[in-house]
């Protein structure tokens, strides 16, 4: 392929004479059966903020992983400043000034911030001179408007600060092409704004920044140009000044979505109105020797048919409250009751018997049995009620249930005996939802706890999950939704409790939902306008 890139057309009417900073041409990448990247091409200019927009699974991260050397493309070429380069390993990318801050940080939590930043860039000496490195960084950080406590252990730092450490790490290596993968996932709205202003200052210094995201609003706020990806292809590149939300959604979704409603053969049992209050939590206090105030005097309520959200920055007590309700954690003080039946300090099986069911946060590590058949994964949990009076399993029934679930939820799997690990993320979540419905059909489902249920799912699967949650709510059960996605919580919930440092600092009804108000509460500040 010739280096004469002036012959290449990219983006209507934007033909430049200088070479683009980065040119990726016809990149292909396949993982087993999945074609993750299909002839993808991308060009980036110097000093711009370029957004890579697309839903989960479109190929954005894969494409950037190839640019940063973590993956190797099956075919295609990359050129930097007009010259073709071979990037086979992260080191090659680093040599060309490319650095990536991943969605899940590549930080070592047991090291200090300083150790993380200088890792693999210590200089060639035999001994590391920590003091001089310290000084170097104290001079570097203000240049980019950043500041972190270099001697703090990363595990003690908040997510927003950890992200800054990652960015400083890249800057310390003289990165000139910075890739940020879904940077605002775990940030409050205020922290996200702070990040964007930092990004603007980067580009003023000549850095090229690539922003991988699925959030349209963000893209419109901070980028110069936007490339939309879909099914592994770079579909279109537009200038942000010429783009709108409607246009971007159209490009992202392509043909009208083929999502229709699903009909389920076994509807959840309509909850006989035993009590109005599905979940009652009073004065819940949880503390550990090293962390005395994980949860402080929390009280909350979920009524019949409500979807209630627990919202807050990760680590402010929402998870511990859910763990206490589900029986995974024993509270120090307080009372928890499901449908009037007290289960404080009980075990998981007691919560299950009281009618609580969990959709876990990490569906793979907490939800499935990878090497057992998907039917056996399906019954995990309901098994306590399916085989109550027999010693032996009834495999006929198990596989029957598996077949039914595959059909009802359109789960993509070879058959009901296939190993669970073969399923894709979206299908796994469908299986887990099927499990919740199975549970509700053989025993009372009074409270469904859903923990980041659409994490990493594509739009169709996420919509499916949302519909099912609404369905469960409308059948009379209560739903407790713990999500880091504020938009999702605002979409689904009737009420939201906002958490900060283990306390409930606010309770809002649907009509009063405001992301900035909640963002302020989540970080302990006053809502500013």
């Amino acid at each position: 392929m010739s280096n004469d890139i002036s012959r290449i057309k990219y983006s209507e009417g934007i033909l430049r004479e200088e070479n683009p900073r980065v040119l990726m041409q016809s990149i292909n990448k396949r993982f087993g059966e999945v074609q993750a990247l299909d002839n993808a091409s991308l060009s980036l200019e110097k000093g711009e903020v370029h957004a890579l927009l697309g839903e989960n699974g479109a190929g954005k991260t894969t494409l950037m992983n190839i640019l940063s050397g973590l993956y190797v493309a099956d075919s295609g070429e990359v050129a930097i400043d007009g010259r073709k380069v071979d990037i086979h390993r992260p080191k090659d990318a680093a040599d060309h000034g490319i650095g990536m801050v991943h969605q899940h940080f590549e930080l070592i939590s047991n090291f200090t911030a300083l150790e993380n930043i200088i890792l693999a860039a210590e200089g060639g000496r035999l001994v590391i001179d920590m003091d001089s490195k310290h000084k170097e960084l104290e001079e570097l950080m203000p240049r980019f408007g950043l500041h972190v406590d270099l001697d703090a252990n990363v595990r003690d730092l908040s997510v927003g600060v950890q992200q800054k450490v990652e960015i400083i790490k890249a800057l310390y290596r003289g990165v000139s092409i910075l890739i940020l993968d879904e940077p605002t996932t775990m940030l409050t709205p205020q922290e996200a704004d702070s990040l964007f202003s930092v990004i603007s200052s980067f580009t003023k210094q000549g850095l090229t920044v690539i922003l991988i995201t699925h959030k349209i609003k963000e893209v419109l706020k901070v980028s110069n140009r936007i490339t939309v990806m879909r099914h592994g292809k770079c579909v279109r590149t537009v200038r942000t000044s010429e783009a709108s939300e409607k246009l971007l959604v159209e490009i992202m979704m392509g043909e009208k979505s083929s999502y229709k409603g699903f009909s389920i053969s076994e509807k959840p049992k309509t909850n006989k109105i035993k009590s109005e209050t599905m979940l009652l939590v009073e004065g819940l206090t949880i503390g550990e020797p090293k962390q005395p105030s994980l949860v402080e005097n929390v009280s909350l309520k979920v009524q019949n048919g409500e979807i209630v959200g627990l919202v807050g920055v990760c680590g402010n007590g929402q998870m511990e409250v859910a763990e206490a309700i589900y029986g995974v954690r024993k509270p120090n003080m307080g009372k928890i009751a499901i449908c009037g039946k007290e289960i404080t300090g009980g075990s998981v099986i007691e919560s299950l018997r009281a009618g609580a069911f969990l959709i876990p946060e990490d569906r793979i590590h907490q939800g499935i049995l990878p090497n057992l058949s998907l039917s056996e994964t399906l019954i995990l949990g309901p098994h306590n009620f399916l085989f109550k009076h027999s010693l032996m399993l009834n495999f006929k029934r198990i596989y029957e249930l598996g077949r039914q679930a595959i059909e009802d939820y359109q789960i993509k799997a070879p058959n009901e005996r296939a190993d669970t690990c073969l399923l894709s993320g979206g299908n796994i979540q469908k299986l887990i939802i099927a499990r919740a419905f199975l549970f509700s059909s053989i025993t009372d489902l009074n409270l469904l706890i859903a923990f980041n249920p659409t994490n990493g799912l594509d739009v169709m699967s996420a919509q499916f999950v949302h519909d099912r949650l609404l369905e469960i709510g409308s059948s009379g059960a209560g739903v407790l939704l713990i999500s880091e996605d504020l938009d999702e919580s605002m979409l689904l919930c009737n009420r939201i409790y906002v958490f900060f440092k283990g306390r409930v600092v606010g309770e809002l009804a649907h009509a009063d939902f405001d992301p900035y108000v909640m963002g302020a509460m989540m970080t302990g500040g006053e809502p500013n306008d």
């Binding site: 993982f31 940063s68 050397g69 973590l70 993956y71 390993r89 992260p90 080191k91 090659d92 990318a93 680093a94 040599d95 990536m100 991943h102 590549e106 930080l107 070592i108 939590s109 047991n110 090291f111 150790e115 993380n116 890792l119 693999a120 860039a121 210590e122 200089g123 000496r125 035999l126 001994v127 590391i128 793979i364 894709s424 993320g425």
Partner: protein
Amino acid sequence: MSIIDFLRASLLQGAVSYSAPLLTAAMGELLLERCGMLDVSLEGKMALGASIGFLVYYFTGQVLLGLAASMIIGAIIGIAFGYIAVYLKGNQIITGMGFLILSTGLASLIYRLTIGIRNVAPEVKTLDNIKLPLLGKIPYLGQVFFTQPALAYFAYLLVPIMIFVLYKTPLGLHIRACGESPRALDTLGVNVFKIRLWVSAVSGGLIALGGAYLPMVLTATYEDGMIAGRGWLVLQLVIFGRYLPTAVLLGSLFFGYLESLKFSLILLVPQLPPQLFLMLPYLCAMIVLVFSQKTYRPESLLKPYYREKKN
């Protein structure tokens, strides 16, 4: 029986001497575990080190050759294990068990095939105690700490070397990073696989050296089963030492002391069956282990690193 009996200089001198093989092997395993791998075949490596070291020393008369031979064989087994664990991503516990039986069997087999059948077990001249010039003259402490065979001094020197390497050099930072999060290190362009393989080799050499200590310093002969669980003990030592060289040193001293003590106790308390005292180190190890479960562990211990991870 009074407190003085427990603090006799010769007893403590023996403690320091008995602790040296534990310490050497423990430094090797500490390095390995800090890098994210765990080798259960310690017992076998030490046996093999003892066997090969003894044989080479016996046939050549050169102590250094024997020690070198044991380190080389340990490094070879270490590389084999490392290759399977790092490049082939094999399960380290299962593979380690295979190497355990292989090394234990080889140690005995090679010895017997080489020595053949004899009436009297072959012996070597054990290393003499070297009394250090000035320090050896200090009363009590001089005898305990500074009148030891050369290998013991080497073992103790390993501790500051290990501390220096792990905490003050870039290599040490990389090794520790490998144990915490190899992916983080890989994305920064460092070859994680090579580091783990080299550490495997060095660690194997040190562990085998620890085994060689036993025939060369303590018993003068080789016997099947002479390692007597020390390898397993070292595995636990690294855990209750919280992966810190200094703590591991103290732990080794403690168990060296127990070993030194048990012979005295058997003599002092003839009413009780000797087996009771022989069990003492193992019982103590178990008790200490129970109370050190919630300690720090390198985050990526035992996890093989896959660069292209999809689900």
